[in-house]
Amino acid sequence: MKKNKYYLHALLFGIMVLNIISCDNLDLYTEPGETLVGTITDKNTGDLIETDQPNGIRIKLEEISWSETPEPLYFWVKPDGTFQNTKVFKGRYVVTPVDGPFFPITGDTVQIQGKTEVNFKVEPFLKVKIDNTVQNGGNMDVYFKISRDTPAYKITDAKIFISTTKFVGNNSFLSNMSGQILSPSINFNGSPAVPDETVLANTHKLSVIGLKGGNRTYYLRVGARTNDNIQKRYNYSEIIKIVVP
């Protein structure tokens, strides 16, 4: 009986040793090393689509090397409308830009190997252009126009975003305090709503009031959005820089 016990111990010890040795070789798969880069541009003007990161555009990756219905992977597009992911497994993917402020498009099927580039041309819901700005110390009037090529859903609102960093957008902006109106907005969808024709025909003015001076630098952009936009993303104007003396 006692002898058996020794055998048992020896056996257990052997299993333990085997376990320890086998640990090293468990992960046989090489790490992902392929790179996916690309841009998302306006199909009419060729300009990059300005967005936020995160909560802007996402790239959806569906690997179809193994399965017809894979679980998708996502990553964020940069605020300037370009994207890069250096940790993708080699394989065949459907790559689709989703959630952005543009008409949905179907994805491209690509073999990702080495550095693969995919460029998407989309049609933004809206285009926002700053016409003119009038600065008076810490106050600033911003004039802008909204346009679009294809009429779709109701234009809901426009908003100025101001931040002390150049990553300004709906993720990062200074909000209004009493005595200050830093990021004002217009609601086109109140009661009564402003008709889209009027919104598109007019130049809009929003006034920023109460920026602190002392040679501070601010970044400003204007965003507008429509109702067909599930994720409520803004279409942005270019970013302008303001220095308040």
Binding site: N55, E71, M177
Partner: protein, 640 residues
């Protein structure tokens, strides 16, 4: 020896042979379906467990911990701007993955619906009908909890069984959001037709409870149809805009069923006391669906969590959520400045003196006093001693403050520093000041002050609604010590549902059945305002904006875990709560003239307390574990 064993075996074997006939009997140690579903007592016990599992967002529900948890510090109303929370500023997204518990509950209900008719020998036909109706009500309640979180979910009407059914059959894909709402309406219609007029026991459903739930659920569907969007990449969420009127009308009709059966609580002619009592009177004509508690098994800790510091029990806590000034400013009867905010200083930034703290609120709507503990008001026969500090400087030039709070002499020079801990932190006038050597207590008993684990108010207000005014202080503790009932559905909500559905129908130009929907909404809103002591709408035409109805809802149903869902179905949460900092109101005592001044300012916790609602929160993500079990649930909701 051998013989003995043989005999023994023979006897054993013979007994086995005899007993063969009776082997196929139900085991006596397991309760059988016929015992449970064949008697009133059995069904009552089964129902009791279902009610206990029902996803009621009550005193035991919070954004952080979901259902049936004592820790309700992160209550749902900290997310909406109704209140701010002491320990965790900002929004706590209540996406707790309520899914498995829901389908467990649905399975038990489906089982009852299947098995009860087969085993109901001991029940009358009236009882059978009533129980089946009740089951449909409960099932609708659970599906509503699911659909408002996830949009479309799989509708399971039958008891599933494994391994009899194949895996493919059991992995049911999602129905669309409108299909789920239609199913809820169908179940509630069955419940309305089968349930009796009066509940057979307190806390159980009757015909009108089902109708009230229908008015709530259909209003959700109507709002989502009107304000939400369809999504091509996730067909399970979204309701076609064209069906908005169908749902709104259904909500309106269901609410109308309760007319004359329930009414607003008006027992006491003093509107303030009446509004306080309405949450405690078990015989209230306003109570439709109520969840009761019992110490020590199934209580809650609402009092311990939210009572102001002055009245906290032996374990501490208190003031975990504090109403914001933004919420208080919704009410009538406050003095206001040109921009509509509460009047604290004149045009030259000089503070206005008030003789006592309540002078600012002397004309406030009674409902406000009954919902919020105001500085200087009386609770449990004591003055709520809320003050941020004492102004000890000279007042010969008046007390001034501007909005630039960091460089403000009002804060930095003349005031006693923020008390660091409890209220016995005293201040002595230094040599050379106005009263050298005089010792005072600068802060109030209920704060605000900066406590270490001790909660004073952080907004200048406390929650009054539902706080038990008669609970002895040593009983204000956790767990389970509070037992006031949760009124899950009260008639005021039904009236508000009806007014909102009616006004939306009116706005959409719907004129069915010759009803004047604007007029109907007007009557409902004025009924609520009259009971609350608010200013009445002068005429039907004055009801010209949906915001009037929404504001009434915010005022009436605050701290009842409703507004979060309302802001979701109105699709306004992402614009209302975008980098938003809530405002607070602090009273200061002026030592020189024995008067009070008020300061309106943003939440002292600053940027950390900003509220931002992410757009993808309009739907909760389907839990990853459920997708692993059932890949047919894909695609997940937008943004996940």
């Amino acid at each position: 020896m051998k013989n003995k064993i043989t005999y023994f075996l023979m006897v054993m074997m013979s007994s086995v042979l005899f007993s063969c006939n009776d082997l196929d009997v139900a085991p006596y140690n397991i309760i059988q379906d016929k015992d449970v579903f064949g008697s009133t007592g059995g069904v009552t016990a089964y129902m009791s467990a279902l009610y206990q599992r029902l996803p009621i967002e009550d005193f035991r529900y919070s954004a952080q911990n979901g259902f049936n948890n004592h820790d309700i510090r992160r209550a749902l109303f900290k997310n909406t701007g109704e209140a701010i929370q002491n320990g965790s500023p900002g929004i706590t997204n209540p996406a707790t993955g309520y899914w498995g518990d829901a389908y467990t509950c649905i399975r038990y209900i489906n089982y009852l619906i299947k098995v009860l008719p087969e085993n109901s020998a001991g029940l009358s036909s009236g009882e059978i009908e009533s129980y089946l109706g009740e089951a449909c009500f409960l099932r609708a309640y659970v599906y509503f909890a699911l659909v408002k979180r996830y949009g479309g979910v799989p509708i399971i009407k039958e008891v599933q069984s494994f391994p009899e059914q194949s895996l493919e059959e059991l992995q049911v894909p999602r129905n669309t959001e409108s299909e789920v709402y239609d199913f809820i309406a169908e179940d509630l219609d069955v419940a309305i037709s089968k349930l009796p007029d009066k509940s057979i026991q307190r806390g159980r459903a009757n015909k009108y409870v089902a109708a009230a739930l229908k008015s709530r659920a259909m209003l959700f569907a109507g709002s989502i149809a009107k304000y939400g969007q369809m999504n091509a990449s996730c067909p399970a969420v979204g309701i076609p805009a064209g069906s908005a009127n169908k749902y709104l009308k259904s909500s309106y009709d269901a609410a109308k069923l309760l007319e004359g059966v329930y009414s607003l609580y008006r027992k006491n002619s003093d509107k303030y006391q009446n509004y306080v009592d309405l949450f405690f009177d078990a015989t209230s004509s306003e109570n439709i669906f109520v969840k009761e508690y019992h110490f020590p098994e199934t209580g809650h800790c609402y009092d311990a969590m939210f009572i102001p510091h002055q009245w906290v029990g032996p374990q501490g806590y208190g003031s975990q959520c504090c109403p914001t000034l933004d919420y208080v400013e919704l009410f009538d009867g406050l003095p206001r400045n040109a921009s509509g905010h509460i009047l604290t200083k004149d045009a030259t930034n000089t503070c206005i003196y008030y003789n006592d703290r309540m002078e600012l609120f002397q004309n406030a709507e009674p409902r406000l006093r009954a919902t919020v503990i105001l500085p200087g008001d009386v609770f449990k026969n004591q003055v709520a001693d809320i003050k941020r500090g004492t102004y000890v400087g000279s007042i010969s030039a008046g007390i001034k403050y501007t909005d630039d709070l960091t460089t403000n002499p009002f804060l930095n020079n003349n005031l006693t520093a923020r008390a660091t801990n409890a209220v016995n932190n005293t201040y002595t006038f230094p040599a050379g000041s106005l009263h050298p050597g005089v010792k005072i207590v600068p802060c109030g008993l209920s704060g605000p002050f900066n406590g270490n684990g001790i909660g004073g108010t952080i907004s200048g207000f406390g929650i009054r609604k539902y706080l038990d005014p008669n609970k002895p202080t040593d009983q204000v503790r956790l767990p389970n010590y509070s037992t006031q009932s949760w009124i899950d559905i009260r008639y005021a909500e039904v009236l508000l549902n009806r007014a909102e559905a009616a006004y939306e129908l009116y706005q959409n130009g719907y004129t069915g059945e010759g009803i004047d929907y604007q007029q109907d909404a007007f009557v409902c809103i004025n009924d609520i305002r009259d009971r609350a002591g608010a200013i009445l709408l002068p005429s039907q035409s004055a009801l010209n904006d949906i915001q009037i109805i929404r504001k009434e809802r915010r005022k009436e149903l605050a701290f009842e875990n409703k507004l979060w869902w309302d802001m979701r179905r109105w699709r306004t949460a992402h614009s209302e709560l975008n980098n938003r900092l809530m405002y607070v109101l602090f009273p200061y005592y002026v030592y020189e003239n024995d008067k009070w001044v008020y300061q309106r300012r943003p939440d002292e916790k600053g940027n950390a307390a900003r509220l931002t609602f992410n757009v993808n929160w309009y739907y909760e993500a389907i839990p990853a574990g459920e997708i692993t079990k059932n890949p047919n649930l894909l695609p997940n909701n937008p943004g996940y």
